[in-house]
Structure formats: structure tokens, C-alpha cells
């Protein structure tokens, strides 16, 4: 009965080995890839292998890793840096944490390989301070690897040396953007700057720097060991290998999955994810977090890869997948994401600083029933212009949740502005709780739970809700045993 929809490359060891034991990692072939690079390959060979494998950045944008390494290798410098971006910022994604907590040496090994390939010998892991366990296990792993001569000076007896330090994030989503991340690593406000120059040319301390995400790195030792052909044989035409997703929200099997690129959304949701709980209807899945968009039943058969998601106005992002059911209001979801980006925008460029606030305000207006059709137009045009003018990736993708939900759920938006109704029954200001006379038996339970005492009626008589005083908390609906209260 075992269905093998998943293929675990990046997460091949998590859950299997003891993350606090370097022997445990070595026993599954750990550091062999690094050893192979140092003993049998020239740096250029490593880069070629990476290029041929087709591995693309798993942090979101999908830039080919080998090409990035090639750029950094090209610039001459006494110092070059390999940075591991472990500032997992997407709310609803935790694959990086899982890998770091479950298989830290895998990431260290990959960073050293990157250092060897580009001609650098310093590595920095920029990790969220909110991940204490991952930090502790990384520190331990670095020490163990140094003690065994797998990191530090003259690795495995060669003249290649590579050291890794940790730097902590401090709660800023924008630091996932590589230029902001570099600013933050240097101890500054995490404000992005205009590229070019790209970090590969002038990054950390103005030195050539490659920034790779945890999941990207976690693939690398396997690629070195099993070859470019093996890796590029997995996935789709443009997207090779696998992708780790965190599926959560309204889904039965909440958890971490790793599937080959090109797996359909349907497989992910129904076969791997076990479908929607409580017999509810699948409505949408948000991929790419606050930078992404909503996929719907229309997209269920689409193979998941970088290009297909972008074509559907979403994006791969780091791999968060939030599943929503019929009870979720897409306007409210868009508002939730804008609330997030509005807080997280660094505030440097005008479109993002003020634009996120204005989009949020318009969405808020819509959810409280004060929106107009003109507002929908404003939303669209403002969103397009922000995408066009914002400084960094955060601002350029910030309107995506709005644009994608408007594309697919325009009806829902229109219901809010024209009918002043929230079809999913989420937006409190647009709801009305009413008593169905035929069903009410006058048990008084609803009146007793109402926190504002707006339900009146004598025992055994039909009760009435005072709409003016009702705060739409839904307590009466939950309590009524006779389905006599409806929300609409």
C-alpha cells in the first residue's frame, strides 16, 4: 500500500540520523562529497557539475546555483564568502529548520563544497534567533566537524581550509532578501540595496559572496555523489530535482514533504496530504508565502515547478503551502498577507513603505463593507505599479496575494463591495446572525452565552438577535443545538 509520491534528497537524513552525532552522519556517507571534491575535482569541475545538474535556488527566485557560483568564482579576491540563508521568514514554512535540526552536517558540508568551488574559505550561516534548537545543533556540528578535520584548516589533509560562523537574525522578514541579509550580517538595519552589483561580485564586506538557502545546500552533497545526470533526470524540463514543501492549514497530513518537481497539486493535496479535514471543500492553496499567490481547483492538475507557478501568478517561494477550505475568505487572506508585509517592509522605498499600507487599507475597507468597485480598480493598478517600481523582491512580490486572489476569486471581492457580503462568512462586519423562527425552541442557551446580551426572548419562545448590538462573535451559533441560528 506504500505509495512513493515522495523522493527525499534534501531531507534524506532528517529523521534517520542523530543530528548531534557526526559519526551518525559519516555512517550515511557524510562528508564523502566534500572529500570527493577535494581529492578528485577541480573547483571548475564542481561548478560545471552544479550547472549541469540544473539545481536552482530553493529560497524562492530559482536562480541556477551553478551559475551563481560561477560568477563568484570569476571575481578575483583574497576573501570570498559562502553564506547560508537560514532566515526562514515565510510564515508557514519550516523546512529549513527541519533540515538544520535534523541534518546540520549536510549543510556544513555543502557550504564547504561551495567555498572550494568559488575559491573562498569563509562561511556564515545567517539564522533566525527564534530557532534555538537549530542554533545549538549547528554549533555542536561545527565543533565536531572541526575536531575531526572536516572543517577548519587543511580539511582532510588538503590545503583547503574553510571556517563557518553563525550570525543571528533578529526578526525581519526582509532579511531573506540577499542584499538585506548581507546588510544585517554586517550589523546594520536589514535594508536591501539596488543590484547590481550582485553579491557574487561585491557582497558581504564588499567581497564576492554566494548566498544559498538551506534547502539548496542540502541537495548538494547528494548531487556530487550521484552526479549531475542523476539529478537532472528528476523533475521537469526547467526545474530539476525535488522540492520540499510544508503543507499546513486545512489539510489532514500537516507536515513536511519532498516531491519531485512536476508533481501535481492534486497529488500533493490528496495523496500526500491526505485531503481536507471535516469533509470540507478544498478552496485554495497559498504557495510562496506572502510573496506568492493562491492556486485553486483549476490548478490541481498543473505540475508544480518554477515556471508553472509563476504563470499562475504565484511563485515557488521557499515552499510554504497553506491549504484553505470553503471557510476561508480570500479577501481576508489577502489582507492577512498585506498586514504581514506592511509590518515587514523595511520602509526604504516609497512604493513598498506607503504602498503596502495603502493596499492594506483598501482591503480593510472592503472587509468592513465600505469598499467600492472603484477600489477594486485601484487595488489592481496600485498593485501593478508597486510590482514595477519597488526596490527589492519583497516589494516586487508584495502585491501577489492581492493580484492572484483577485484573478481567481474576483466574485468574492465583488460580493464584498457590491452585495456587502462575505461568502465564506469570515468578515465580521458583513455577517448577520439570525434566528430561524421555525427551528428555535426557545431554550435560551444562546441568550445566556451572548457576551453582549443582544439576544432576547422568553423561554420556549422564539428568540431575536438585536443586529445593532451584535458583535458577530458567533458564540450563539456554536451553542445552538437546533441549528436555529444561521450566519449569512
Amino acid at each position: 500500500m506504500v505509495d512513493k509520491n515522495q523522493l527525499r534528497i534534501a531531507t534524506r537524513n532528517t529523521g534517520f540520523i542523530d543530528p548531534e552525532s557526526v559519526e551518525s552522519y559519516i555512517a550515511v556517507g557524510g562528508y564523502q562529497a566534500l572529500g570527493k571534491c577535494l581529492a578528485e575535482m577541480k573547483p571548475a569541475d564542481v561548478i560545471d557539475l552544479m550547472k549541469n545538474s540544473g539545481l536552482r535556488g530553493r529560497g524562492g527566485a530559482g536562480f541556477p546555483t551553478g551559475v551563481k557560483w560561477g560568477f563568484a568564482a570569476k571575481y578575483a579576491s583574497d576573501t570570498k564568502y559562502v553564506v547560508c540563508n537560514a532566515d526562514e521568514g515565510d510564515p508557514g514554512a519550516f523546512m529549513d529548520r527541519a533540515v538544520l535540526e535534523g541534518d546540520p552536517h549536510n549543510v556544513l558540508e555543502a557550504m564547504a563544497i561551495g567555498g572550494y568551488a568559488i575559491g573562498g574559505n569563509k562561511g556564515t550561516i545567517y539564522i533566525r534567533a527564534e530557532y534555538p534548537l537549530a542554533i545549538a545543533r549547528l554549533k555542536l556540528a561545527i565543533q565536531q566537524a572541526k575536531d575531526m578535520g572536516l572543517l577548519g584548516d587543511n580539511i582532510m589533509g588538503t590545503d583547503f581550509s574553510f571556517d563557518i560562523e553563525l550570525k543571528y537574525g533578529a526578526g525581519a522578514f526582509v532579511c531573506g532578501e540577499e542584499t538585506a541579509l548581507i546588510a544585517s550580517m554586517e550589523g546594520n538595519r536589514g535594508e536591501p540595496y539596488t543590484k547590481p552589483p550582485f553579491p557574487a561580485e561585491a557582497g558581504y564586506w564588499d567581497k564576492p559572496t554566494i548566498v544559498n538557502n538551506v534547502e539548496t545546500l542540502a541537495n548538494i552533497p547528494a548531487i556530487i555523489m550521484k552526479g549531475a545526470d542523476w539529478f537532472s533526470g528528476i523533475g521537469t524540463e526547467t526545474s530539476k530535482g525535488t522540492k520540499v514543501f510544508c503543507i499546513c492549514g486545512k489539510i489532514n497530513n500537516v507536515g513536511l514533504i519532498e516531491v519531485p518537481m512536476g508533481t501535481s497539486l492534486k497529488t500533493v493535496i490528496y495523496d500526500v496530504g491526505g485531503g481536507i479535514p471535516d469533509g470540507k471543500e478544498f478552496k485554495a492553496v497559498q504557495t510562496g508565502g506572502p510573496s506568492g499567490g493562491a492556486l485553486t481547483y483549476k490548478d490541481l492538475d498543473a505540475p508544480i515547478d518554477y515556471e508553472n507557478l509563476v504563470a499562475r501568478q504565484s511563485m515557488m517561494g521557499s515552499g510554504g503551502m497553506i491549504v484553505m477550505d470553503e471557510d476561508d475568505c480570500m479577501v481576508a487572506v489577502a489582507k492577512f498577507f498585506l498586514d504581514f508585509t506592511m509590518d515587514e517592509t523595511c520602509g526604504k522605498c516609497t512604493p513598498c513603505r506607503i504602498g503596502s499600507k495603502r493596499i492594506y487599507e483598501i482591503l480593510d475597507k472592503i472587509t468592513i463593507g465600505q469598499g467600492t468597485e472603484a477600489d477594486l480598480e485601484k487595488l489592481r493598478s496600485l498593485s501593478h505599479n508597486i510590482k514595477d517600481t519597488a526596490l527589492c523582491g519583497l516589494g516586487q512580490t508584495m502585491p501577489n496575494p492581492v493580484l492572484s486572489t483577485m484573478r481567481v476569486f474576483e466574485d468574492e471581492y465583488r460580493a464584498h463591495v457590491i452585495d456587502k457580503k462575505c461568502p465564506a462568512g469570515v468578515c465580521a462586519d458583513l455577517l448577520e446572525f439570525t434566528v430561524v423562527e421555525e427551528k428555535c425552541v426557545g431554550c435560551t442557551l444562546c441568550a445566556r452565552v451572548c457576551p453582549v446580551n443582544c439576544i432576547s426572548g422568553k423561554p420556549k419562545e422564539v428568540h431575536v438577535i438585536d443586529q445593532a448590538a451584535c458583535i458577530k462573535c458567533g458564540a450563539c451559533l456554536d451553542k445552538c443545538k437546533f441549528d436555529a441560528i444561521i450566519k449569512q
Binding site: F16, D18, I26, V28, G35, E101, G255, L256, I257
Partner: protein
């Protein structure tokens, strides 16, 4: 710890470790508890402790406890993987309350399956 001086030394080390692991696998029950952040938050450490106590109480002493990171079945935390000597590993989820003791007294002691088994739905790369 002795430093590894070459790729050959590393390969030798790996082979040694694998040999030890294979031996253990044939002789002992291996209990692997998922102890990533969510596993710990769901009570993974308590599960491990309860199982140790129960094993001691029942006089079962060929059990080796290990820990690992996330087993990916977040919906079923805490999760425990048990490998009986010579058998394939089995993952049990939803280990709440007395379930931990039950795993010892039933599955480890007599190979009797309890509910909460999570089938592996993946293929895993090894090299």
C-alpha cells in the same frame, strides 16, 4: 578526536561505523524518537523517558534509544521509529498518554503492532 587526514580515512571510518550499526541492528531494538522543535513541543522527550522507564520496569535491556530530527509527520507528533532486530523499521505516531508504555509492552516486547503506524510514503536517496 583524531583528525581525518584523507578521503580514504573518511571512507574507512564510514565502513567501520556502518559495520557497527549493522551489528547493532541485528542484536538490539532501536528506538528512535523524533526530537526536532515540534517533536519536543509535542512531548517527544517525555515519550522517550516513559519508554525507557517502561523498558526498565519490564526488564527489557536490549533497547538502544536514539534521537533524530523531524520525521516529517508533523500531524502525528510525537513520533517514534522502532526497529526490531532483523526487521524493517516501523514509525508510530500520535504517541500520547499511555501510548509510549504500550509501545514497549506490546510492540517491543512481543512484536504486537499497535495503532498509529504511519506508512512510509517516500523513496529516500542513500549513497
Amino acid at each position: 578526536m583524531a583528525k581525518i587526514k584523507s578521503l580514504a580515512e573518511l571512507q574507512k571510518k564510514r565502513d567501520e561505523l556502518q559495520a557497527v550499526a549493522a551489528k547493532t541492528k541485528n542484536e538490539k531494538v532501536i528506538v528512535n524518537v523524533s526530537l526536532a522543535t515540534c517533536g519536543i513541543a509535542s512531548g517527544g522527550k517525555e515519550v522517550m523517558e516513559a519508554m525507557k522507564q517502561e523498558a526498565a520496569a519490564l526488564g527489557i535491556n536490549n533497547v538502544e534509544f536514539t534521537m533524530s530530527g523531524c520525521m516529517t509527520y508533523c500531524f502525528a507528533e510525537p513520533t517514534v521509529e522502532i526497529t526490531l532486530p532483523g526487521k524493517e523499521p516501523v514509525v508510530f505516531g500520535y504517541i500520547k498518554g499511555d501510548k509510549a508504555k504500550e509501545l514497549v509492552s506490546k510492540y517491543i516486547k512481543s512484536g504486537e503492532l499497535v495503532d498509529g503506524v504511519i506508512p512510509a510514503s517516500y523513496e529516500r536517496i542513500v549513497f
